[in-house]
């Protein structure tokens, strides 16, 4: 017996299905396909997938993605993503013949750069990807500038750094990529001649030049609260951010109590479940995780986790360097160690789940949420 359900009830049911089922049901009919491909449906489904995973010990829609060293061929890294807590599995290869680096994660889309910094937008869940062509001349410039630059005749072969970031401009419903190209010997923020910043809009599928950051950038930007963030100075712990709607830079202060504390050698800026976070590594001994619990309020920075509260061995003796990757307002934090994910509630261990891979300390891990968001822009049906 068939049951014709009105579209609004059908939608209520579809919101609760995973991306894989929804992608399959696009084959049912043209009308169901257009419902599932509708941009408001995609947004609502994404929001629901995020809120359903509020409990860190019972997540189904969030995945951890990283590179791991594959047995064959040797010396080759492949990307794997694993479910958090539910039967970790090796899931997908983007392109088996290409080595690429993940540069950002936002709403289920990953920004990856293959080979010589060629950016792609990739949805690892729907397996759709789009090559983002940089403007003509963005690489050639490298060669041309080399000829008439008289200052650095004796420098080693020139190589530019490309600093990326991926974020979402909600008011324009637009996924934006920022690419800052800077020559390595020009890190002095007062010299801007060799510094170019471009912004890509997935809505218009085009790049445009934007203002350079007042401070030099390094490492991929972290997307929180409509802004891309970079840690711009290792001793002052200042964070520079770019508001993706207004395209303006701002400074976000780090935790006041840690300013100029020389004890902490390594500082990492992270996005932990929508919160801005700083991880301090005290030499080889301890790890502290700080979170800005209310975005924009400097006094809201709180120390949410310390390795030595749970593990007596120094950080370099722990089985796998601790990688915090999600934090929740209730104080729960998920930390990956080597081949295990541990959830803490601030005081105790809440759950432990094994991964079937060994996380490599030097390779960055990203968390993404399974979504239908298209790398072809919000208007696209693909």
């Amino acid at each position: 017996m068939e049951k014709n359900l009105p579209e609004e009830i059908m939608e209520e049911i579809l919101y609760k299905l995973p991306v894989k089922s929804l992608s399959r049901f696009k084959c049912v009919s043209k009308s169901l396909n257009s419902l599932i491909s509708d941009k408001d449906f995609i947004k609502h489904h994404l929001k629901k997938s995020i809120t359903d995973d509020e409990d860190l010990s019972d997540m189904t829609n969030h995945k951890l993605i990283t590179r791991f060293k594959h047995d064959q061929p040797p010396t080759f890294f492949r990307h794997v993503s694993c479910s958090l807590h539910k039967q970790p599995i090796i899931k997908s290869d983007f392109n088996e013949n290409m080595v690429f680096t993940i540069m950002g994660s936002c709403n289920g889309l990953l920004l990856v750069a293959a080979g010589a910094n060629l950016p792609y937008l990739w949805n690892p869940t729907t397996k759709k990807y789009k090559k983002i062509d940089l403007p003509l001349g963005f690489y050639e410039e490298e060669v041309q500038l080399g000829h008439d630059d008289q200052v650095n005749i004796f420098s080693p072969p020139r190589r530019y750094d490309y600093v990326y970031g991926l974020g979402y401009d909600e008011s324009n419903d637009d996924y934006k990529i920022v690419c800052n190209k800077v020559s390595p010997w020009n890190r002095n923020p007062n010299l801007s001649r060799m510094n170019h910043t471009l912004m890509y809009s997935s809505k218009t599928n085009s790049w445009k030049k934007i203002e350079n950051s007042p401070k030099s950038l390094c490492l991929p930007g972290k997307f929180v609260a409509g802004r891309l963030h970079w840690l711009c100075s290792m001793d002052g712990f200042d964070i520079i951010c770019l508001n993706l709607t207004e395209e303006k830079y701002e400074i976000v202060g780090g935790p006041q109590s840690f300013t100029n504390n020389a004890e902490f050698k390594v500082v990492k800026l992270e996005e932990l479940g929508g919160y801005l976070s700083l991880t301090y590594m005290n030499g080889r001994a301890d790890v502290d995780v700080w979170v800005m619990t209310e975005y924009g309020k400097r006094e809201s920075w709180s120390k949410v986790w310390t390795l030595s509260n749970f593990v007596s061995a120094p950080a370099d003796r722990v089985n796998g360097r601790p990688i915090p990757f999600l934090w929740r307002k209730n104080g729960d934090i998920a930390v990956a160690f080597g081949s295990e994910i541990v959830v803490y509630n601030g005081k105790n261990v809440v759950s432990r789940s094994p991964l079937d891979i060994q996380l490599v300390a030097k390779v960055r891990c990203y968390v993404y949420v399974e979504s239908l968001v298209s790398p072809f822009g919000s208007g696209a049906s693909a």
Partner: protein, 163 residues
């Protein structure tokens, strides 16, 4: 809204196939539709529910009584809902989601639609077409193309259980 005497008020609900059910007002007003009727004073005699058949209404009333007997404990309510829906087949669930929508019972609506999603998750394209009465409006070429594009989604699909 309830009677001033303090004794529990009972409402009489009538299904679209003319079955009569009596239910405590305190349980029935889980339905916003019924609550509005009670508040508007339209609940004097029998409340006709033109979009719900007797079989479904009996089930909904079982749910109303069951869930309103549980004190404010979201965990317990959730496990009651899970248990209540665990043995229902697709047809019953579809009738219940329509009834929950008509009666404006958001907690039941949410639970039943989640249960239907759980039933559907690993089902085939054909199963969805048959169960929901959805006409395949693709041309054979279009269908082949859309299936090829989503080939990876066909692994792990359950064998159809409806024929």
């Amino acid at each position: 809204m309830a009677a001033e005497t303090g004794t529990p008020t009972t409402l009489t609900l009538k299904s679209n196939d003319d079955e009569l059910f009596s239910v405590a007002e305190s349980a029935a007003i889980l339905s916003v539709t019924i609550r509005n009727m009670v508040e508007d004073g339209c609940a004097g005699g029998v409340i006709p529910l033109d979009n719900v058949d007797g079989k479904t209404l009996a089930s909904v009333i079982t749910y109303m009584n069951g869930i309103s007997a549980i004190p404010a404990d979201e965990e317990k309510k959730k496990s009651y809902r899970d248990k209540f829906l665990s043995d229902k087949d697709f047809e019953t669930l579809a009738d219940m989601v329509l009834a929950a929508n008509y009666l404006n019972m958001s907690c039941l609506m949410d639970a039943v639609s989640a249960k239907i999603a759980q039933v559907m998750e690993k089902k085939s394209v054909g199963w969805v077409r048959r169960k929901f009465g959805i006409e395949n409006d693709y041309t054979p070429e279009e269908e082949a193309a859309v299936k090829e594009e989503h080939k990876w989604t066909f692994e792990g699909v359950e064998t159809d259980d409806d024929n």
